[in-house]
């Protein structure tokens, strides 16, 4: 095995109205459309070099179709394929370009949480929107919140302990933080590969659910500006701008027109691979999720897609 999983690569999101969703992700969030085919639209954050980080898929319902993680080396795919199959997980292999325009070599499997997971290597590099010689720090004329990149995905699962175990033992994620119930079971876990507080996180809920996926913003000022943009467009804000106790990040939650929760996120900290995880107790769950409010709203705990 070589480098293993590097980071979250992309999410594929189900939307019942593809045109409306595309308009929202392009104009309000400010992603860049890179390709379109019948039933699917491919988008990326402006600073991302790879072909896409968000796929919108026409579907009668909403939710997460699958999530993809980028692996560092081509050998990593075979390594994880063997390891997963040895553990009794069936794995499907896809040749370069088979799954989507610009897509790399990939494997897919179903996690015990019900989510379809993909590992991908060698997605087409389409470049960020800047030249590679003497580039300015940001292109002018970007619209909406224009996050530079995708950051993490937050999922629901019935058995969070089991989700944590699967992602740690089979996929080498590291536990950065956890919320423990009074009975000692994990209510939530935050797992990382990028030395940030989380690339994927789980919270107790239905199998296969999407709580939210998050875009990176550069600082708290950008988070405030994102809230202005939500309000201007009449986008339903779920919570924030506020701070998380868990991850220390600053966040704003809101919903896309299909009802999938989005977040814009910044802050956090650097995590060494040998860092001790941080634990939150059930009585402090309010502060763990919303540090300023100290309580979690019911919608945050019950609404997912």
């Amino acid at each position: 095995m070589s480098g293993g999983i590097l980071r979250l690569s992309h999410v594929e999101i189900r939307v019942p109205d593809l045109e409306l969703a595309t308009a929202y992700y392009a104009e309000v969030v400010g992603l860049v459309e890179t390709a379109r085919e019948p039933g699917r639209v491919f988008l990326k954050g402006w600073d991302e070099h790879q072909h896409h980080s968000v796929i919108l898929t026409d579907a009668p319902t909403y939710g997460l179709e699958h999530m993809g993680f980028k692996v560092e080396d081509a050998d990593d795919l075979a390594h994880y394929e063997t390891r997963l199959e040895t553990a009794g997980v069936s794995v499907e292999r896809f040749a370069r370009g088979a799954l989507a325009p610009g897509h790399g070599d990939a494997i897919r499997f179903r996690a015990p949480t019900g989510h379809l997971v993909e590992l991908v290597h060698g997605m087409e590099q389409v470049g960020n929107m800047l030249p590679l010689n003497n580039p300015p720090p940001e292109p002018l004329g970007l619209v909406g919140m224009h996050p530079p990149r995708i950051d993490h995905v937050f999922l629901t699962a019935e058995d969070v302990d089991d989700a944590t175990r699967f992602f740690s033992e089979l996929l080498d994620f590291r536990l950065a933080e956890q919320i423990l119930g009074d009975d000692g079971h994990q209510l939530a876990s935050f797992l990382e590969r990028t030395h940030t507080p989380h690339d994927v996180a789980f919270i107790t809920g239905p199998q296969g659910g999407l709580h939210h996926f998050a875009f990176w913003l550069d600082d708290w000022n950008q988070v405030r500006r994102a809230a202005d943009i939500c309000s201007y467009h009449g986008i339903d804000i779920d919570a924030g701008p506020t701070r998380h106790g868990a991850t220390r990040g600053y966040g704003l939650y809101f919903f896309d027109p299909a009802g999938n929760r989005n977040e814009v996120y910044t802050g956090g900290y650097w995590v060494d691979p040998d860092a001790d995880p941080i634990t939150w107790t059930e009585s402090e769950m309010g502060r763990a999720i919303f540090y300023y409010e100290g309580v979690v709203n019911q919608r945050f705990l019950t609404v997912h897609s």
Partner: protein, 303 residues
């Protein structure tokens, strides 16, 4: 696998008490340990024993730069790679250096001594591991950066030094500055998926241009400028922005003349990130994006 990040910078200071006072009161680092001629300091969010070591010496300068490796066997692997390249490697055994376990030390083509270390004494951050607040409110003295970020060294042959750091130690080149003949006069290299952990610019061999602390955002950079001005610290440049790394910054000098930086921003390069090239005619914007030109002091003063 391999080098993870910058671990600590060891510098020489002609006045240990003055330097320690500056790094604790103005920068806001914490003193972790003191010996007859050394003071060890860390930033509030760092778990490891120290990220800066001050040692009394009549002259200022860099003792060594120390990088943390991810696995114990990385030391043996990199030791072999350095020896194959042609440099002698010294093994420092567990307990020989304050606050850390076994390490290897060697010279580099840019003339600085480099150390690689795996086990560093874990003293913990200022926050508990159960239900922590995001900041340790009570101690926030001075600028209070959460952690160390990178360093920039000088070298006579930037190209040769860069080749060593990349081929032998596995650094990846994110950005480079080329002169009119296409030779590298500055290189920015990373291991931590940030724009740089180590950078090299043209100058004397063995020199330290600056080392930098991470701050959380531009607002924190502005606040740092207030603190520097209040304490009458000489600001070299900034607050401003870099074209290279896209970071936001202030350069200033500690009371003994070592250049410090506070840094934020940047981007997240994957290991397959295509290198960004700056040409010499754009050197002003490359280094100081808002001013568009370099000051002489920035080019000439180092320790």
């Amino acid at each position: 696998m391999g080098i993870l990040r910058l671990s600590h910078v060891d510098i020489k200071v002609p006045d240990l008490d003055l330097a320690a006072a500056y790094y604790t009161e103005v920068i806001g680092m914490l003193e972790v340990e003191r010996t007859d001629d050394q003071v060890f300091l860390k930033c509030w969010d760092e778990q490891d024993h120290h990220s800066l070591a001050l040692r009394y010496d009549p002259r200022v300068g860099l003792d060594r730069m120390s990088f943390k490796v991810e696995h114990e066997d990385d030391l043996a692997e990199l030791e072999k790679a350095v020896e194959t390249y042609g440099y002698a490697v010294e093994r420092i055994s567990d307990g020989e250096a304050v606050g850390q376990g076994e390490s290897i030390r060697f010279d580099t083509p840019s003339g600085q001594e480099m150390e690689l270390v795996h086990e560093v004494t874990r003293v913990g951050g200022l926050l508990p591991k159960v239900n922590p607040h995001p900041v340790p409110e009570a101690m926030m003295k001075g600028i209070a950066p959460p952690r160390m970020d990178h360093l920039l060294v000088t070298a006579e042959e930037v190209g040769e030094a860069t080749k060593f750091y990349m081929d032998v130690l596995g650094f990846r080149l994110t950005e480079q500055l080329l002169d009119g003949d296409g030779h590298q006069i500055g290189t920015w290299m990373e291991r931590s998926h940030s724009p740089h952990d180590l950078a090299v610019v043209s100058g004397v061999n063995g020199g330290l241009h600056h080392f930098a602390y991470w701050l959380d955002d531009w607002d924190h950079v502005r606040k740092a400028a207030d603190i520097l001005a209040y304490n009458a610290i000489q600001i070299d440049v900034g607050p401003t922005r870099h074209g290279i790394t896209r970071g936001e910054t202030i350069y200033f000098f500690d009371p003994l003349g070592t250049r410090n930086e506070v840094f934020t921003g940047g981007y997240r390069p994957d290991p397959d990130f295509p290198t960004i090239t700056w040409t010499e005619d754009n050197i002003g914007k490359a280094i100081f994006y808002y001013e568009g030109e370099l000051n002489d002091r920035f080019m000439k003063v180092h320790t």
